[in-house]
């Protein structure tokens, strides 16, 4: 079993932009090692900003973040596939290893494994433009996982996909998470996606961005396609929707 998940601790983080807008107000959040947490909220609630602060891509105005410190400990999946169009799928997945200075043969072998892990064996030599939207997103996930990270941050990665691809990728993501037990923080504006994927949903409100409430996804049901039509799923979706409605009204 590869590296296990790492905990994340966000303490009293606030973020003001230069234009005076307050993106986040006093956000505190603890994510346990190996936990799958969704950040659910309407657009403009600062969930992407929070994710970027956790990743270290943005600095909070006040407050602090505890996260794994190693360069290889973190993977990030953006809303778009964000692939280099001039590089093959394999070269794209190799990138984090190349930047870490790994030998060519080793990074090739690991990138091939990572691509196979997302069901893209045989597409190593394809260029991004030759792949469908869902496949590009798989390459993006393979790239994030190729360093065996202990924390995977995802910023609405499936928002631009059609529903069929999205459902399949949801299942595949869960399978990868169950295999590797990294900590996952998943930003989404879809109630259904957050309920299907996560163990806990953190619901955020706007103006300023803040955590409104938290909802554990309490179910003993296996996370498979049948879960989507189960009574538990429907009940939790209803709860999450209600809390999201409150967060937006407040």
């Amino acid at each position: 079993m590869p590296a296990t998940g790492a905990p994340v601790r966000v303490s009293a983080v606030s973020k003001h932009f230069d234009n005076g807008l307050q993106a986040l107000s006093d956000v505190s959040l603890t994510v346990a090692a190996g936990e799958f947490v969704s950040l659910l909220g309407p657009s403009g609630c600062g969930k992407t900003t929070l994710l970027r602060i956790i990743a270290g891509l943005a600095t909070p105005t006040s407050g602090s973040v505890g996260r794994p410190t190693g360069r290889h400990d973190m993977g990030f999946v953006f809303q778009e596939p964000t692939l280099m169009p001039w590089a093959t799928a394999l070269a794209n997945v190799e990138l984090p290893l190349k930047l870490a200075g790994l030998a060519r043969s080793e990074r090739r072998a690991r990138a091939e494994d990572a691509l196979a892990g997302v069901g893209l064996a045989g597409f190593e030599k394809s260029y991004p433009r030759e792949l469908s939207g869902g496949m590009k997103m798989r390459v993006s996930i393979a790239r994030a996982l190729v360093t065996q990270p202990r924390l995977l941050l995802m910023d609405e990665p499936f928002a631009a996909l059609d529903e069929i691809s999205r459902h399949r990728l949801n299942l595949d993501l869960l399978a990868l998470w169950q295999q590797r037990r990294f900590t996952a923080i998943f930003v989404t504006h879809s109630v259904f996606e957050s309920v299907f994927l996560s163990q806990r949903i953190v619901i955020m409100g706007t103006r300023p961005g803040r955590i409104a409430s938290e909802l554990p996804v309490a179910t003993s049901h296996a996370r498979d396609e049948a879960f989507r039509t189960s009574a538990d799923y429907v009940a939790i979706c209803r709860l999450a929707s209600a809390q999201l409605g409150q967060a937006m009204a407040a």
């Binding site: 270290g56 891509l57 360069r71 778009e80 001039w86 433009r129």
Partner: protein, 258 residues
């Protein structure tokens, strides 16, 4: 052969045929307008005079283009690395670009004190700006998220430049190169007109001037045809280069596929 080749070819032959017919039917004297057949004959007959001149013009053009690629490319990279360098130098690059080369050519000829060198400088002056400005644009048009990704993996400035900014700028650079290829030739020819020097090692522009003084109009047309052919050849070679480098991944190289 595709219609893309056949259509302009047919039109070209048709126009040449009409031209020849008109010159014959109206009995236009060759010192006013020679027909295409006479021009072709002159090209063959005067080849021993024209070929060395073609070589001179071509080598100045290519050297200027090479210098434009090096200076334009290096400056663009420097500009992208340092905002201060860009803020201080870019206005002067613009000044060089907007000042007509014909106007500064006499100065350059006085200063350089060597005809070939001054022609090279003039051609370079005209050619380097499109490469500079296009490459700067390309180096800046990098996907924000890819930049974040490189930052996340601690790539640093240098590796971000090599692995991300330069490949992203390639299509823009090649677009600039295609414009500069034609401009380098124009610069070389214009500068030679201004320099107006004769001798054995003179280019096609001088041959045109010389033939004009002697009223050898067919030879003027022959030299003109060679200049055009050179420009077309440069354009085609650069287009092919661009296609070969971009065909696997860039949108601009994808027409006719899928």
């Amino acid at each position: 052969m595709s219609v893309k080749v056949v259509a302009p070819l047919v039109l070209g032959l048709l126009v040449l045929g009409l031209w020849e017919e008109a010159v014959r039917a109206l009995a236009v004297p060759p010192y006013i307008l020679p027909g295409p057949i006479l021009i072709a004959r002159t090209l063959v007959a005067d080849w021993s005079t024209l070929a060395p001149s073609l070589w001179v013009t071509l080598s100045i053009t290519l050297a200027a283009l090479g210098a434009a690629v090096v200076v334009g490319g290096v400056l663009a990279v420097l500009f992208s690395l340092s905002r201060w360098v860009e803020l201080s130098l870019f206005p002067y690059a613009v000044v060089l670009q907007v000042t007509p080369v014909v106007a500064i050519a006499p100065l350059i000829i006085v200063w350089a004190n060597d005809v070939d060198l001054s022609l090279l400088i003039c051609a370079w002056l005209v050619a380097f700006f499109p490469i500079l400005s296009n490459t700067i644009l390309g180096l800046r048009s990098v996907d924000r998220n890819l930049l974040s990704l490189f930052e996340l993996y601690g790539a640093g400035r240098w590796r971000t430049l090599v692995y991300l900014r330069l490949p992203a700028a390639l299509p823009y650079f090649l677009g600039g190169l295609r414009i500069s290829g034609g401009l380098a030739l124009i610069g070389a020819v214009v500068a030679e007109f201004v320099a107006g020097t004769g001798g054995n090692a003179s280019g096609l522009a001088w041959r045109i001037l010389e033939a004009g003084y002697q009223l050898k109009v067919p030879r003027m047309f022959a030299a003109l045809a060679l200049i055009s052919a050179t420009g077309i050849a440069i354009f085609l070679v650069l287009t092919l280069l661009s296609h070969l480098l971009l065909r696997r991944w860039h949108e601009s190289a994808l027409d006719g596929q899928e």
